[in-house]
């Protein structure tokens, strides 16, 4: 809770400091706020008596690791995107404080124990992102992205509220613990509850960009400023997936027969839609968008498994995914190509070996090549699902095989030695070097974390 407040306050402070037109001060505020927030959370991990539980919001150990990851990703995003934010010094504060506000919502979504709090968190998370997606005001695509995301997001929120109302009608409570008791007793089971659960699931799947609710994904990802794409793929996805896991794996577990079949089908659909559509993409961010759809498919396998291990498995998965996406997004910022073609990455990895190294690490991690974090995440999610849903895992593995094709094609473009002569020499700033280094270390080591 203290971390939540710190982040919110640092967002407000950053907004006001931006009136000085000194981007560096805004950045410093945000980074200090985030570092303090991370520090407070880590402190709670080591001193469990500090763990917080209040009506509607509770931070247990599971929430702490997810919050730390979300805050760390936001920190990397803000630091990596600073060169972009400071191009318009009068708006730097807005960008950064909107990200911080959105992060506040993400933390509410991670820590909720009440459907009402969850809804508030979701809105706090989403509204700044709608604005950020459309923040390249003179760019038509960015405006399209903002508008599209806002409209479809509003519909999804409406359906979520509607579903929540049905669930409330069936059970008479918003509180997760009471809900799970009532569901375990089985007294509330009936069409009212089931329709409510399915509506909530649809809205969740919309948020994480799973098929058949994925159509907003590629357009919004491609239209938004690169760094916001990175934020959506890492932090928003993390909050959405964890909220989903918390609600479905722990609360709706007694009625899992009802929703697991539907989720099974949608996971299969998501993986195939994401991977097959990614095969023929020529734009970098659209590729990333479809890859993120397929990754949502793999990640959704964790909530399918009603087990305490799912929480940790999903975390490792999202950690590897987040580091990889942030590294790629920061590299795309450094390359700074308006056309966003994959071809514009020709030879840059050969010409700039260190950037090439990070790029290869992140793409191979997305493809699931050991010993990178992406492999461990995938392995843990898949293997825990194997005992219950072997067919699903086999389909997921087939999809990983399909995925290698487009990941490898990207690597081959970036590393091609013929084009290395014409490739530009990239000059990232110190902050970007730092972000890339942290991402590389994260990709190499985070798979070995045991708690």
């Amino acid at each position: 809770m203290d971390a939540l407040i710190v982040i919110f306050v640092s967002g407000i402070v950053a907004m006001f400091i931006s009136m000085t037109h000194k981007p560096a001060l805004v950045l410093a505020t945000a980074l200090i706020g985030l570092s303090v927030g991370i520090g407070l959370m880590v402190n709670q991990w080591y001193n469990p008596y500090l763990l917080f539980d209040y009506n509607g919001l509770a931070f247990g150990r599971g929430e702490v690791i997810y919050s730390v990851a979300a805050m760390a990703f936001s920190l990397l995003i803000i630091a990596g995107g600073y060169t972009y934010f400071k191009r318009e010094p009068e708006h730097t504060g807005e960008y950064i404080s909107l990200i911080l506000f959105s992060l506040t919502g993400a933390l509410c979504m991670i820590g909720y124990t009440d459907l009402f709090m969850f809804f508030i968190g979701l809105e706090i998370l989403s509204i700044p992102v709608y604005v950020l997606a459309g923040s390249k005001k003179k760019d038509l695509q960015s405006s399209e992205a903002g508008l599209k995301y806002f409209f479809t997001g509003a519909f999804a929120t409406g359906i979520l509220l509607f579903g929540t109302a049905w669930v409330y009608g069936a059970t008479g409570t918003f509180d997760l613990r009471e809900l799970s008791n009532i569901l375990a007793e089985g007294t509330a089971n009936g069409p009212l509850l089931f329709v409510g659960i399915l509506m909530m699931m649809a809205s969740f799947l919309f948020k994480v960009g799973a098929a058949p609710f994925h159509f907003w994904g590629p357009d919004v990802y491609a239209g938004s400023p690169n760094i916001i794409t990175g934020y959506m793929a890492s932090v928003v996805k993390m909050a959405g997936l964890y909220a989903f896991l918390k609600l479905f794996t722990y609360v709706f577990a007694p009625v899992s027969d009802l929703w697991s079949g539907a989720l099974f089908g949608m996971i299969v659909l998501t993986m195939f839609v994401g991977n097959l559509s990614a095969l023929r993409q020529t734009k970098f961010k659209r590729l990333l968008a479809y890859s993120s759809i397929s990754n949502a498919g793999y990640a959704l396998m964790a909530p399918m498994i009603i087990s305490d291990a799912s929480l940790f498995n999903l975390w490792i998965y999202l950690l590897g995914y987040g580091f990889a996406v942030i590294a790629l997004i920061v590299i795309s910022l450094i390359v700074n190509d308006e056309s966003d073609d994959i071809e514009s990455y020709k030879g840059i990895g050969r010409k700039n070996p260190w950037i090439g190294f990070v790029l290869v690490l992140s793409v191979l991690s997305l493809a699931g090549v050991p010993p990178l974090a992406g492999f461990f995440g995938k392995y843990m999610v898949f293997s825990s699902a194997f005992a219950t849903y072997p067919i699903l895992v086999i389909l997921a593995v087939i999809n990983s095989g399909i995925g290698v094709f487009y990941y490898l094609r990207f690597v081959m473009v970036a590393l091609s030695s013929e084009d290395a002569e014409q490739a530009p020499v990239l000059k990232p700033c110190v902050l970007q070097w730092g972000v890339l280094a942290i991402c590389a270390i994260g990709l190499l080591l985070s798979g070995y974390i045991t708690l």
């Binding site: 461990f376 895992v393 593995v397 990983s400 590393l415 030695s417």
Partner: protein, 479 residues
């Protein structure tokens, strides 16, 4: 620890070494690892298991990080180190060797291979197995010929998908076992049906890497477009991972499925032996010819391994060593021809033996070793394998025997067309000292092993006995 970690250290050194000396850095790295492995051999008695790395923690899903070796493992380690040294030695004077990335990648590859051969944990094995794919891909991609993109993509996807099948098998095993440590996996008792699918997963991964008959289509193209060092790494070392994997992982872990699958694998191996040899006879591209020859030879080894008796396995290991050395020699010869004649087409070569008598002699020696004439190690290896296959079924033995005849046809034909006849080039510079030294070491080892093969049999024998015992001791539960 130093046994498998040294190449990684030298790979990092090679990345920062000055460009003019980096070829020596690479070679020294390989030689140092080789000497270290010899020291390990000196303190090793074949019936013991040596643990290299065994931390007392494991990851939540059962990864234990265990590494160690027995006779089989150490044999493969020594083979890897010797072959890597020879590869770097044969490249020493070439332009490619002055590239930092090249030396680092070869050493990284060596690190991955040593990891594969010393991993005593299923997931560790998988990690190192995949780790080798990246350096070999980059070596071929950065230093290969101009038309390399498509074949390499096929190669990467093919092998990666195969490995995923192996990963599925490990996942299935993981549901029965508390950790992935080798002895825990061995202790798992599978039903015949589960064992069948587990073995199929392993088999797909290994069959693609070896490659066995219907899974071989990536191989000739990839061998052709790779630079010499890449081809050597692929044929001399990378496919040996798969043969080793069959002996160490596939069969001991799922012995329950042996009866069902061995017939299939032996048949595929035999088809590969004849099919690849016939195609090799019709080739005009010398590198492609040796690529098909490689398919033909390893098909026989894979079939022999599936028999899983002492003689056949001993033969398989002799043949593994022999094939590595011969492939090294043949691809070196092919590359020397390609480089100095400017073509891979045998019909545009000719008369080289007159222009370069030293090269003519050493190429002939390697060619004869490839044909398995007596006194070379190939003779012993193939003899043991064919004998085993003949005992399995006389038809199989007969088909396996054709490898000797067909092998002689395509190898000697290649030699004759490229080396004899009227000279088609004005000048052909003879071997440089490092090429000569490479050929000399290759032939020396081949002859020593041919005259005294017992040295390999004694070295891997006790470990093989243990493995065979564990496989034979498994009862099959039919459900």
């Amino acid at each position: 620890m130093e046994l498998f970690a040294l190449p990684l250290v030298f790979a990092l050194i090679a990345l920062v070494a000055p460009k003019s000396k980096v070829n020596y850095v690479g070679l020294i790295g390989a030689v140092v690892s080789m000497v270290v492995s010899f020291i390990h051999v000196a303190f090793f008695s074949p019936d013991q298991y040596v643990s290299l790395f065994a931390p007392d923690f494991m990851l939540t899903f059962g990864l234990t990080f265990k590494m160690g070796y027995d006779g089989i493992g150490l044999f493969m380690v020594v083979l890897t180190n010797v072959i890597t040294t020879l590869i770097l030695l044969s490249n020493l004077n070439r332009e490619i060797a002055h590239n930092r990335a090249f030396n680092a990648l070869v050493l990284l590859m060596q690190f991955g291979l040593l990891g594969v051969f010393t991993a005593m944990d299923g997931i560790m094995f998988y990690i190192f197995w995949e780790l080798t794919l990246v350096p070999i891909f980059l070596i071929s991609y950065w230093f290969g010929s101009a038309d390399r993109k498509k074949p390499l993509m096929k190669f990467f996807i093919y092998t990666f998908v195969g490995s995923l099948a192996m990963l599925l098998s490990f996942m299935a095993l993981g549901t029965y076992s508390s950790s992935f440590a080798y002895e825990d996996l061995l202790a798992v008792q599978l039903t015949a049906k589960t064992a069948f699918w587990v073995m199929c997963g392993f088999f797909l991964a290994f069959a693609i890497k070896i490659p066995l008959f219907p899974f071989h289509t990536w191989q000739p193209d990839t061998y052709t477009v790779s630079p010499m060092a890449g081809t050597m790494l692929l044929s001399a070392l990378m496919l040996k991972m798969a043969l080793y994997g069959m002996v160490r992982w596939m069969i001991p872990i799922a012995p329950e499925a042996m009866d069902t699958l061995s017939c299939l694998v032996i048949t595929l191996g035999m088809i590969g032996v004849v099919y690849a040899a016939v195609i090799a006879i019709k080739q005009s591209d010398i590198k492609r010819l040796f690529a098909f020859a490689s398919i033909s030879h390893v098909g026989l080894i894979a079939a022999g391994i599936m028999l899983f008796n002492k003689d056949a396995l001993a033969g398989a290991f002799i043949q593994i060593a022999n094939h590595s050395l011969v492939a090294l020699g043949l691809f070196l010869a092919a590359d020397i021809l390609e480089r100095r004649m400017g073509t891979r087409n045998m019909y545009e070569m000719g008369g080289v033996a007159k222009l370069a008598p030293k090269f003519g002699f050493w190429f002939a020696a390697v060619a004869f070793a490839s044909v398995s004439v007596p006194l070379t190690s190939g003779f012993i290896g193939e003899f043991l394998l064919i004998k085993g296959l003949y005992n399995y079924s006389w038809i199989v033995g007969l088909v396996a025997g054709t490898t000797l005849v067909l092998g002689a046809v395509y190898t000697l034909r290649a030699y004759q067309i490229s080396m004899f006849g009227a000279p088609k080039a004005e000048a052909f510079s003879d071997l440089t000292w490092n090429e000569m030294l490479t050929f000399f070491i290759i032939m020396l080892i081949i002859l020593v092993l041919g005259i005294y093969p017992q040295v390999i049999i004694d070295f891997v024998g006790p470990s093989l006995d243990l493995t065979i015992e564990s496989v034979k001791g498994t009862k099959v539960i039919v459900q």
